[in-house]
Structures are given as C-alpha cells and as structure tokens.
Symmetry: C2
Subunit: 210 residues, 2 copies
DNA sequence: CCCCTTTTTGAGCGATCGCTCAATCCGGAC
DNA sequence: GTCCGGATTGAGCGATCGCTCAAAAAGGGG
C-alpha cells in the first residue's frame, strides 16, 4: 500500500497548493485532501517541506509532459507563438505556474523547497529553450545575435512573466508578446536574406552607440 | 510621536523582510527589529498584512527613486544595457526584488499584500518602460515592430527574470541579456538605414511563416 | 499640580502549526 | 488460527501565530 499512499499524498499536496495556496498547505489540510491520516506525511516524507518539494517536482513534470510532444512538433517561430498563447491559457487555468510562484516565497526559508522550485521552473525553461534554439538556428540571425543566448533569454523571459502575471493578471505585458516580437524579427531577417549579412557586419562595426 | 513610530515600523518591516524573509516577518519579530512593542503594529496599521503591504510600497518607491535620475539621463540603448547591469548588481545586493518575490507568494492569501506587490513590481516596469519607449522611438524599428509593445514586453521581461533569478541565482539567463539583444538589434537596424524600410515591408508581406 | 487624550506596552487568549508516539490495523508466512 | 512487521491513525505536545486589552507612560492645556 506504500506506493499508492505516497501517490495519494502527492496528489493531495498538489491539489491543496493549487486550489488553496501555500498558506493553507498544512499537514492537516493536505492529509484531509488526500484522505489519509496526517501522520503518514511524516512517515513517508519526513516533513511537510519535503512533501511539498516532492509535489512540486511531481507537478512540474506532469505539466511539462503534457506539452512535450506538441513542442517537438513545432516547425516555426510563428507556430511557437500560437502554441505559447494556448499554453499560457492552459497554465493559467491549471494554476501550476502560480503555484510555483507561491513556492518561490516559501523556498526562501526551506532549502528543500527552494531546490524543488528552481528545478520546477528550470524544467519549463529547458523545454522552451530547446525548442527556441532549434527554431532560431533555422533563421539567419547569425552575425549579430547568438541563437542560444537569445533562446535562453527568451525562455527565461517567458517563465518570468508568467510568474509576474500570476500575481497581477492585469500586469504590464504578456509573455507571448516577447515571443511575437521575436517571430516578427525572424520574419524580417528572413526577408532580408543575404543583405542582412553585410548590413549586420556594418552595424556591428559601428558598435552599439545608438 | 505617531509619525516617527510609523516610520520605525515601516523600516523595521522592510529590514525584516529583506534580511530574514517573509516567514520570519511576524508581528513580534518586526516589532523587535523596529525597537517598539508589538501592539503598536495593530494600533497604527490594523494588521500585520497591512503593515507589510505599506512597507512593500515604501520600499519600492525608495528603490526606484534611487534610479530615476540616472534613467532619465540615458541617451541610448547601449547605455541602458550598461545601466541595467549596474542596477541588476545593486538590486541583487539590496535584495529588494527578492523581497517582492517573497511577497508574491504571500499575496495569494492576502488581498492587501497582493495589491502592494503588484504595485511595487508595477513601479519598476513603468519606469523601465518609459525609458525604453523613449529610446526605441529614436531607432528605425517602425514597420515591423511596435516600439511601445516592444518596450512593455522588454520591461516586463526584465522584472520577470529578476524575480526568477531571486530564486535561482544559477538560473537560465540574466535579465540584461534580453536588453543586450535588443540593443544589438537596434544597432543593426540603424546600420541598415533606409534599406531596412523596404526590406521590412517585404518581410512583413511574407508573413511569419519561417 | 491635576486631568484628559494619545501613545505605548506586554501578558495572555484562542487558534494553528510541525511533529511525535503509543495504539491499532492488516496482509502474508507459517 | 497465530503471529509478526510494515502501514496507518489521531490525540496530544510545545511552539508560534495574529490579535486584544487593561494598564502604564507621555505629553500638553488649565
């Protein structure tokens, strides 16, 4: 029964975090949500923090798995923008990124939680970064921008803004706006073709003075 | 003595948040840090949450004020990138953005805190957005990218990544990488000059298929 | 000096927290 | 059926939480 009980606790912890927030994610609440005695949390996970950290990892993998196939199938930045809109909507509904935002705070006082939160956010970034790097490599960015650097910055931007929007839905910008600008840029550079190569080198020689 | 005591409490709350984290920001701890009795928190602010929210606003204004003059004096995107590096380093040391990251979580269960956190983050974004819009307006971006949209997305990216890095200092990217890419792009477009106008329109007609 | 208001204190209330532990349950080996 | 060891339960401990409140202190006008 051990494995099944662990799963019950993970599901219960995840549901509690997403639906009621970390402030209500006490041993008693989680155990009640999972439908087991609270003592089991300490028997199986040692502490509430450890359970929350495990639930964080469990949840992040679960969410990213939902998208892995779709991400791999993307063939252009334009498709990525479209996909990002859908993912944004789905995640807002699922509330998982908001949950990570909450754990972000709690992690400041719990090493285990901090590590798990960073790992959870890292999963998202890695996945997006991989796709972005692949797609950017196919566009003529070379010469003025490093595709890998641009991909990393964009992926981190996306996750960062998702975090921000978890607090303020009416916030200053939306994550896929950044992706959209990137896609627009890519389209332009593709249109420029070989011209861009010379112009880029010219521009770079002039430095970044303006 | 009322005003002076309120200031003591605000400073004490801010110091407690930055140095010890929100988990330790209890009425007793804050009062001890401020050097007053804990009852004063409820006498002057009504509740701990209200005090924390006020301290959040107070801290955000204090930090942004530090940069306002320097931001207004910026004349190019390249200078902005340089400035962003400095601000990034200063803020990491001050720990204020990290503090906002912590409040982000607590805000999920306290409307007052949520509003104050959003307002605090909003201050940063507004300030950066204003400067970016001004600087981008001076570059030949027109035709393929909306300067205001690009500014908003970039400002939000910056703050979002700062938040993310508050959790994971070894994280996936740094905030000013995004700004640097933007500055590089601006330099290129400036170098292209009038050429870019035609090429851009050509690129846009082709859509975002690649 | 007294008197009244505003400000300040800290003990204490009820609630909740993470966690322990003695007791109980239960499935499988014999 | 007997027994045993892992799995499970929930009462309870000590600590901390936000907050209240009676009492003390401080300040200022008469």
């Amino acid at each position: 029964m051990s494995a099944a009980t662990k799963d019950k606790l993970l599901e219960g912890a995840l549901r509690t975090l997403v639906e009621q927030g970390i402030a209500k994610a006490s041993a008693r609440t989680i155990a009640a949500t999972a439908g087991v005695g609270q003592g089991l949390i300490f028997y199986h996970f040692g502490s509430v923090d450890e359970l929350l950290a495990a639930a964080c990892r469990y949840g992040a993998e679960q969410r990213v798995d939902r998208y892995r196939d779709r991400l791999a199938a993307l063939g252009s930045l334009a498709e990525l923008v479209e996909f990002a809109r859908a993912m944004h909507a789905e995640e807002r509904e699922a509330g998982h990124v908001a949950m990570l935002g909450q754990l972000l705070a709690a992690g400041q006082t719990s090493p285990a939680l901090a590590a798990a939160t960073a790992a959870g956010l890292g999963l998202w970034i890695e996945e997006l970064e991989e796709v972005l790097t692949r797609l950017l490599a196919a566009t003529p960015l070379d010469g003025f921008a490093d595709p890998a650097g641009l991909a990393r910055a964009t992926a981190a931007s996306f996750v960062g803004i998702e975090l921000y929007e978890a607090v303020d839905p009416q916030g200053a910008g939306s994550a896929f706006d950044a992706l959209e600008q990137l896609a627009g840029l890519a389209a332009v550079l593709e249109g420029l073709g070989p011209l861009s190569q010379r112009a880029v080198r010219h521009g770079l020689r002039r430095g970044t003075r303006g």
